[in-house]
């Protein structure tokens, strides 16, 4: 493609964009809506994973020991736990430490110990952390099988629910985005077919005098890309403003709720949406060309 024809291609694309005003709007708008929903779904998944990650790392497994497991047995057990590859950290909490912790949380000085009559009913325990919150379940059941461990407990419920949530967000998001994406492609294809119809004389003459296929196709391809990327830019703008408003609001009101706020991740997401928009445009124009520009 010689560079001098780019001017022509751009000129033709803009001319036809002006011609079908309403349909352009519908095509770009549908692309925008589908990409906006795609962006929302991706941000939801990123954030639930993010939250699951930062909460999950706070979720320790407590492995309570039988009475009478002391000294060397405790050291052996600790070594055994550390051989599990998913385990990040192990801390021994003696019954005295546990009671002190309880007292700090609930009791006024000495009151708790007094009501217990001086004895300590709490067991010794190991507090175990895993590298990945998703391994909590597996590590917990391994710990339960170890000799000397009487009981295992962990806050698996929250993490599991969060991870399950991301699964559903992915599924539902994908379905909606798929459907809307098809609508966007269809509308882009229709827009471009109208342009082709409006320009059928020119196309006929181009072919008659020996213009190459690609010379005829380029303006339509570019028109599709312009429609797709316009939709994507619209979606990105809305997504950016609503997400940055949301994160700053949540930072104020729910500071314990960690939200993903990396501008690199956002940039990658937006670049992906832009590329997807351009892709939808290209697919739409190719569909039109396939049915209209044979021979």
């Amino acid at each position: 493609m010689p560079p001098k024809t780019w001017g022509y291609i751009l000129q033709e694309s803009i001319r036809s964009l002006k011609r079908n005003g309403w349909l352009n709007f519908a095509a770009a708008g549908t692309t925008a809506v589908s990409l906006f929903i795609l962006g929302v779904a991706i941000l939801l998944v990123i954030n639930t994973n993010f939250i699951a990650g930062s909460w999950g790392s706070n979720v320790e497994i407590m492995a309570y020991l039988n009475d009478g497991v002391t000294g060397d047995a405790v050291t052996a057990l600790r070594t055994q736990i550390l051989t599990i590859p998913e385990v990040k950290d192990v801390r021994f909490i003696s019954k005295d430490e546990a009671l002190a912790g309880l007292e700090q949380q609930f009791g006024q000085n000495g009151q708790l110990q007094e009501s217990l009559g001086g004895s300590n009913p709490l067991p010794d325990a190991f507090e175990v952390k895993t590298t990945d919150p998703r391994d909590v379940d597996g590590v917990a059941s391994l710990l339960g099988l170890m000799p000397g461990v009487s009981q295992v407990s962990y806050g698996q419920g929250v993490v599991d629910k969060l991870l399950e949530l991301t699964y559903w967000i992915r599924l539902v998001g994908l379905a909606i985005v798929g459907l809307l994406g098809l609508c966007a492609i269809f509308l882009i294809a229709t827009t471009i077919r109208l342009t082709m119809y409006a320009r059928r004389r020119e196309i006929g003459i181009m072919k008659m005098v020996g213009a190459t296929d690609w010379y005829v196709r380029w303006p339509f391809l570019l028109e599709g890309v312009i429609l797709g990327t316009t939709g994507a830019l619209l979606a990105i703008a809305i997504l950016y403003f609503s997400y940055s408003t949301l994160t700053s609001k949540i930072m104020e009101t729910l500071p314990f709720l960690p939200l993903m706020n990396s501008s690199l991740v956002l940039l990658q997401l937006f670049a992906g949406l832009l590329a997807t928009g351009a892709g939808l445009g290209i697919v739409g124009s190719l569909i039109s060309m396939h049915s209209y520009l044979q021979t």
Binding site: K4, E202, I205, K207, V209, G210, A211, D213, Y215
Partner: protein, 227 residues
């Protein structure tokens, strides 16, 4: 320049050409006559490779068209200028722009376009009409713009499909004179026509088609069979 060997074309079971064989040399002026539906337009479309033959062989400038790849078609069409009964000008473009369009879309350089378009418009006697839209021109002028467009890329072959069909008698002769002038400068001209008076007066080569077959091929021929 053009050879048809036993060419047949069947559209959805309808036979448009049935074993047509003919040969046209470089520099000839040929009338293609015959009743409507005899296969004239199909034959012309095949030279441009708008249609591929169902059977038979076609050569244009020594190249087989039946076996031509899709990507080679533009190069073929650049050797051929095409003129139609209904002119096929772009209504929203001036005479100049219509002619320039044919150069632009095959990637000619702007300087070359600015030089060549006025030249060919002048040759067709349209220097004054360059900035007018087709609807501001007479039928004869419009057809001359179309001929200018067909010639602007200097084709070796000019094909005219009933170029005088929409024109009155005097204007028709004006167009024929143009085509003869073009032919005298070396361009091969093939003209499909129903204009008996013109064919009979010029006494050029006449190829007559009927039911998809060549039924007559005479040098210095007439529109109808001499009986």
């Amino acid at each position: 320049m053009i050879q048809f060997f036993n060419v047949s074309k069947i559209y959805n079971g309808v036979r448009a050409l049935a074993g047509a064989t003919l040969q046209i040399e470089r520099g000839e002026f040929v009338f293609l006559v015959g009743p409507s539906g005899a296969g004239k337009t199909t034959l012309l479309k095949m030279i441009l490779r708008e249609e591929a033959p169902t059977r038979g062989q076609i050569y244009v400038s020594g190249r087989s068209i039946a076996r031509m790849k899709h990507g080679e078609i533009p190069a073929l069409r650049r050797q051929i200028g095409m003129v139609f009964q209904d002119f096929r000008l772009l209504p929203e473009r001036t005479a100049y722009e219509n002619v320039a369009f044919a150069m632009q879309v095959i990637g000619s350089r702007p300087a070359e376009i600015r030089r060549r378009v006025p030249e060919v418009l002048g040759q067709m006697g349209l220097a004054e009409a360059a900035d007018m839209l087709p609807r501001q021109l007479s039928g004869g002028q419009q057809q001359r713009v179309a001929i200018a467009r067909a010639l602007v890329n200097k084709p070796a072959l000019l094909i005219a499909d009933e170029p005088t069909g929409n024109l009155d008698r005097n204007t028709a002769w004006e167009i024929i004179n143009c085509l003869q002038e073009i032919n005298s400068q070396g361009t091969t001209v093939i003209m499909a026509t129903h204009a008996r008076e013109i064919v009979d007066a010029l006494r050029q080569r006449v190829i007559a088609l009927e039911n998809g077959r060549v039924v007559r091929d005479e040098h210095q021929g007439a529109y109808a069979n001499a009986t």
